[in-house]
């Protein structure tokens, strides 16, 4: 008996539609996040993540609808991130059917938000999303904002330690250097964050080959998030699991019931 590695596809959603091209021919509507979520659920995703990149209030309302419809059809955990600024925002998402929320910028500007959310709903609902890159800070890694374009002026490891003390239940570590390159996860960054945190760690950014997934696990990741390799059909979730299982990592076999 052991805890399985989690494979988590991430969908960027704006105004109720999936953005970033999605390349599945077996979908009636590749832009429909509910249908995408359902497909990934059937393919064996262990969790799903929606990142709401809507710029408007109306867009965020639509996302609540998407969360509602998804939670009614897909019976695996659903995390929603993007634009969460308050305890009330979290409450709305959880009521709509999200199991967890991820926060990023709002926690950087007001770290107490972490404690407020954890106190109200428990740490288990709260994922800290950290967009980090290599830089000349104390640890060699810094936190960025604006999709990696700007420095937040905060050392990444110091931020992770602080957020853990405030009560986050999980860390989503996104390498802004590796993001979108498909050249592999930033292994050094994963090990460094693992060394200073005792909550589950989700690695994100850079997944390309099947070996990349295994390397991130060896560096200390508990879960692996990826977007484009799944959306473009470079790897199916089943292929990743088969590879990992063949290399003695514990994975969940979906569809054996």
């Amino acid at each position: 008996m052991s805890l399985s590695v989690r494979i988590i596809p991430c969908l960027d959603v704006t105004d109720g539609r999936v953005v970033k091209g999605v390349n599945f021919t077996d979908l009636v509507d590749a832009g429909d996040p509910v249908e995408m979520a359902s497909l990934y659920g059937h393919e064996g995703a262990d969790e799903l993540t929606f990142l709401d990149i809507s710029a408007s209030v109306a867009g965020r309302e639509t996302t609540l609808d998407v969360v509602r419809k998804t939670a009614e059809q897909v019976f695996i955990p659903l995390t929603v991130g993007g634009g969460i600024r308050s305890v009330d925002d979290v409450d709305r998402l959880l009521r709509a059917g999200a199991d967890k929320v991820s926060i990023n910028t709002a926690a950087l500007s007001r770290p107490e938000l972490i404690a407020e959310i954890a106190d109200r709903f428990g740490s288990q609902v709260l994922v800290l999303s950290v967009d980090a890159r290599r830089a000349r800070t104390d640890s060699g890694f810094e936190v960025t904002t604006h999709g990696g374009r700007e420095s937040a002026g905060v050392d990444a490891l110091a931020w992770v330690e602080k957020a853990c003390a405030l009560g986050v239940g999980e860390i989503l570590l996104n390498s802004m250097d590796a993001d979108g390159t498909r050249a592999g996860y930033d292994i050094g960054m994963i090990s460094a964050v693992r060394a200073v945190s005792k909550v589950p760690l989700i690695a994100s950014g850079g997944a390309g080959t099947l070996e990349d997934f295994a390397s991130a696990l060896d560096a200390g990741a508990d879960a692996l998030l990826a977007a484009s390799v799944f959306h473009f059909g470079i790897h199916r979730i089943g292929d990743v699991k088969k590879y990992l299982s063949g290399h003695n990592y514990s994975v969940r076999n979906a569809h054996t019931v």
Binding site: M1, L3, Q73, F75, K198, P200
Partner: protein, 197 residues
Amino acid sequence: MIAILDYGSGNLRSAQRAFETSGKEVVLTSDYDVALNADGLVVPGVGAFAACMQGLASVRGDQLVRERISLKRPTLGICVGMQILFARGVEHGDHEGVGVWDATAEKLQAPILPHMGWNTVSVGTGSSLFHGVENESFYFVHSYAVKKQVGAISTMAHHGEDFLAAVEDGAIAATQFHPEKSGDAGLHLIKNWTNSL
């Protein structure tokens, strides 16, 4: 009819939908009599032990669970809804639970907490809840658990140490994991329970 006890605890919508896949009628309720008279009662729960227990008490849920047990009416606790059925919980202080079983929900000793994700279980002999899904994985999210066997049938799991993943004891059953978030295996387990009603 199945009632899911609504006492302000988390994401009940997907729980309702998951139980509806069994074909039964499912209602969310905080009404004592509706919950008492339902064929099956589900006691969900997320967040901290004390907050959950306080919410339960606000709808007289502790009394409700005891009354259903004495009437031998099927009741299923999920996650913290399982933990509060025990005598005590020690999350953020020492708190009294409903006291169905004499055990304490304690912090797991493991390098990484919460225990979050899919894990397999060692199914207790004679289990009907796990029939057909004995070798499947279920979705757990928790840092506290009971670390001994209780009741008639105990199903155990392991994260850092052994802990109680599920219990079946006459009319009352409970799971530390979330069957409503455990994909097809979870829906199968839910159906096993609703078929027994």
